[in-house]
């Protein structure tokens, strides 16, 4: 297909067909990742800059590896080392980087809307690696790829997203993506972390968590940040684990185990019992591999315009 988007700012801008296209390409890369040694030259000569204003390990490393495996030159830029600490404005920093004449820029920032903002004046491809509480499109794509590869039929699939929906860009991007592929979405968790206006995401809020899990095929647990407790959204880690954490392997009416997913990093014993993380029905580790594959697919598609698909 001819790819019409210059940037990947959010799942919201993609059609179902475009998502399926990226998943297909991601699937091919996921297969390809199994071989060793591995090196492609498809994007040889192109330059990628990773611009992370927020702490990240897996997403940054994943983008870096994806670029390198495709033959790109990759430069990492983190906030601590930047001129922003010398008083340079955000806009000036970004414009300076623009003069480096790179081809694609991956950005993570704590403020919602930053990728859209810089896409309006920077001349190259912008990939959103998470902006505030708005979107994290490659996370959603990797989650969808993981489900697809597990044999899930999106048109007959219900995903329960549990935990801190309020602050989660992952929940937003994933639920939007799932709806575009025809899945049902359920939200559950502490009512303090489920925002008013959630109807816009077209999911259904179901209480209690046990009931949400009962209705779901896939249980998607969100990471709970320690500062949410400090800010008073729930009383304690113990209480969270008791009522909102996953404590046992969820079983369907047909006796099959439901799949467990988590964007990572996992707080063992908080949102999920430690013993469940590595269980056979857990897709949590496979999500990481799919993350690398889908980022290769995204880089290739944006830069080469989908022609090579």
């Amino acid at each position: 297909m001819k790819w019409k988007h210059k940037h990947l700012l959010g799942i919201d801008q993609l059609s179902g067909e475009e998502i399926r296209f990226l998943l297909e390409k991601g699937n091919q890369y996921r297969e390809w990742l199994e071989q060793s040694p591995k090196k492609l030259t498809r994007l040889s000569g192109y330059c990628l800059i990773n611009l992370f204003f927020e702490a990240s390990t897996r997403t940054r490393v994943s983008f870096e590896m994806a670029g390198k495996l495709l033959g790109m030159e990759v430069v990492n830029f983190t906030n601590e080392l930047s001129s922003l600490n010398k008083g340079e404005s955000f806009r000036d920093t970004v414009r300076t980087l623009a003069r480096m004449k790179v081809d694609a820029l991956v950005i993570r920032h704590r403020s919602s809307g930053i990728p859209l903002y810089i896409s309006q004046f920077l001349p190259f491809h912008i990939i959103n690696a998470g902006d505030g509480m708005r979107e994290h499109p490659t996370q959603a794509l990797l989650d969808l790829l993981t489900m697809k590869r597990d044999g899930i039929d999106f048109t007959r699939n219900t995903v329960a997203i549990i935990g801190d929906i309020l602050h989660s860009r992952v929940a937003r991007s994933l639920s939007i993506g799932l709806k575009k592929l025809g899945s049902q979405v359920i939200f559950s968790g502490p009512p303090t972390l489920i925002p008013k206006g959630i109807e816009v995401l077209e999911g259904q809020v179901v209480y209690p968590v046990e009931e949400a899990i009962r209705q779901a095929d896939v249980v998607y647990l969100l990471r709970i940040q320690k500062e949410r407790q400090e800010a008073g959204f729930f009383p304690s880690a113990k209480e969270y684990a008791s009522f909102f954490g996953l404590k046992e392997k969820p079983k369907g009416p047909d006796g099959r185990w439901k799949k467990i997913m988590h964007p990572g990093p996992v707080n063992r014993g908080l949102e999920i019992d430690s013993s469940l993380v590595e269980k056979e029905n857990s897709l949590i580790e496979e999500q990481v591999s799919c993350g690398l594959a889908i980022r290769m697919a995204v880089l290739e598609t944006l830069i080469l315009g989908g022609a090579n698909g």
Partner: protein, 431 residues
């Protein structure tokens, strides 16, 4: 277990809104038969001729002071006062020392209550850790440990954000929140109602606005979050109007009063001194009229006590240093008879609804609050006619801090049965 047969009483059935002449048979702690002319040779008979028989009274607001302030009251003395007062279930406020703010403490308190084993003792847990008004308690774990409600009673929750998050969070657990309303920035060191009495006596005042403004804030919060919120010990006319307005908007808000706020106004300070010093303070006649109308219209759905026992030392001496509170558990029923039945504000059916059926519903006690076959045999029998003098020195409560000493009241409980056990028979305590 032995059977009890209550003969020839007038039965008050608040759930079916009926009054009937019939007998009640209790077997093994459960009501098993209700009809006229029951005979059972093995049952212990209680003659209730001329008396009213209804479900035991349930008190949503008592301070039994345990743990930590057993000089003022403990679970045993408080429970005996409850029995004498016709109360078969009570909800203890958690502002003890330490406050009941953890599952461990609530488990401890409830196990102590089982040891005492007289009336059904339920407990609220605190809203905030240590009653400090900063961080919320583990309310889900507290419910699992047996908490029936949340309250920082004795203190107002000042932090709006804490209350907003708590109300939102509490919906998950269907746990009611009981609020003591008093903007402490306004109330400060106030002692009595704002107005002519405060001026005349030279006491600092507790303005109505301190109470009303917080109630207004929390009504908005309750309505917005959908939480179940209960305002305890209402004292002002405006608060009744505010609550009624929000009830009409669909907010899940309820309220209770105390007997003293219906019977005494701020003039009482002259006669009773610190014995009439209480929070909220005794208000005006216009407030009393409004509270009674609020009860009649159902805005105030529960009659409680705010039984607040203190030692004499806590109440004596300097008025400004004296503790707030009135000990009234064993005379709450006759006080409400004087306040509401004598002037025909409400019927006996309503009386039982407000003192038993509604509080049982509020606490989710499905086996209590009604006189029906299959319900727990918690029963109060009262003599509606005979007057007796209130003798505070005969209180079984440790708290003798009560302004009603010497009052002639009628409507006294004569027999109290809890879980099929007769704990007071013909005005004699058997506990």
């Amino acid at each position: 277990m032995n059977k009890v047969l209550i003969k020839n009483g007038t039965l008050i059935l608040p759930q079916s809104k009926r009054t009937i002449e019939a007998d009640v048979l209790i077997d093994d702690g459960v009501i098993v038969q209700i009809e006229p002319g029951i005979n059972d040779g093995k049952a212990e008979r209680i003659n209730a001729s001329g008396y009213l028989v209804g479900p035991g009274f349930i008190n949503l607001h008592v301070h039994f002071r345990e743990p930590g302030e057993e000089k003022k009251e403990d679970l045993f003395s408080g429970s005996r006062a409850a029995v004498k007062g016709g109360f078969t279930s009570v909800l203890c406020m958690p502002n003890t020392r330490p406050p009941i703010d953890s599952p461990l403490l609530i488990s401890y308190l409830l196990s102590r209550a089982r040891e005492v084993g007289l009336v059904n003792v339920f407990s609220a847990a605190t809203i905030s850790l240590g009653l400090e008004g900063k961080a919320m308690t583990d309310l889900g774990l507290l419910i699992n440990a047996g908490a029936k409600a949340l309250s920082d009673d004795g203190k107002c929750v000042k932090d709006s954000r804490l209350l907003y998050l708590l109300m939102t969070y509490s919906r998950y657990f269907h746990l009611p929140i009981i609020l003591h309303e008093e903007d402490i920035d306004i109330a400060g060191e106030g002692q009595v109602n704002e107005g002519s009495m405060a001026v005349k006596m030279g006491y600092r005042s507790l303005p109505k606005v301190a109470e009303d403004s917080m109630i207004a804030r929390d009504l908005v919060l309750a309505h917005s979050t959908g939480a179940t919120v209960h305002f305890t010990h209402l004292s002002t006319a405006l608060s009744v109007k505010l609550i009624e307005w929000f009830q009409n908007q669909g907010a899940k808000v309820t309220a209770d009063v105390t007997p003293h706020h219906l019977l005494l106004d701020d003039q009482s300070i002259i006669q009773y001194g610190s014995r009439a010093k209480v929070k909220p303070p005794l208000r005006d006649q216009t407030d009393i009229v409004a509270l009674k109308e609020g009860i009649q219209r159902g805005v105030i759905g529960i009659l409680a006590s705010d039984h607040a026992p203190h030692t004499n030392e806590d109440k004596e001496g300097d008025f400004n240093e004296a503790a707030f509170g009135i000990s009234n558990l064993e005379i709450t029923v006759p006080l409400y008879v004087k306040a509401l039945i004598d002037d025909q504000s409400i019927s006996w059916l309503d009386f039982w609804k407000l003192l038993s059926f509604n509080p049982a519903q509020f606490l989710g006690l499905t086996k209590k609050g009604s006189l029906e076959i299959g319900m727990d045999a918690d029963i109060a029998i009262i003599d509606p006619e005979t007057h007796h003098e209130v003798k505070v020195n005969e209180f079984v409560s440790k708290g003798k801090n009560c302004p009603f000493d010497g009052w002639q009241l009628k409507g006294w409980p004569v027999t109290t049965i809890v879980n099929g056990k007769i704990l007071m028979r013909h005005s004699k305590l058997e506990a």
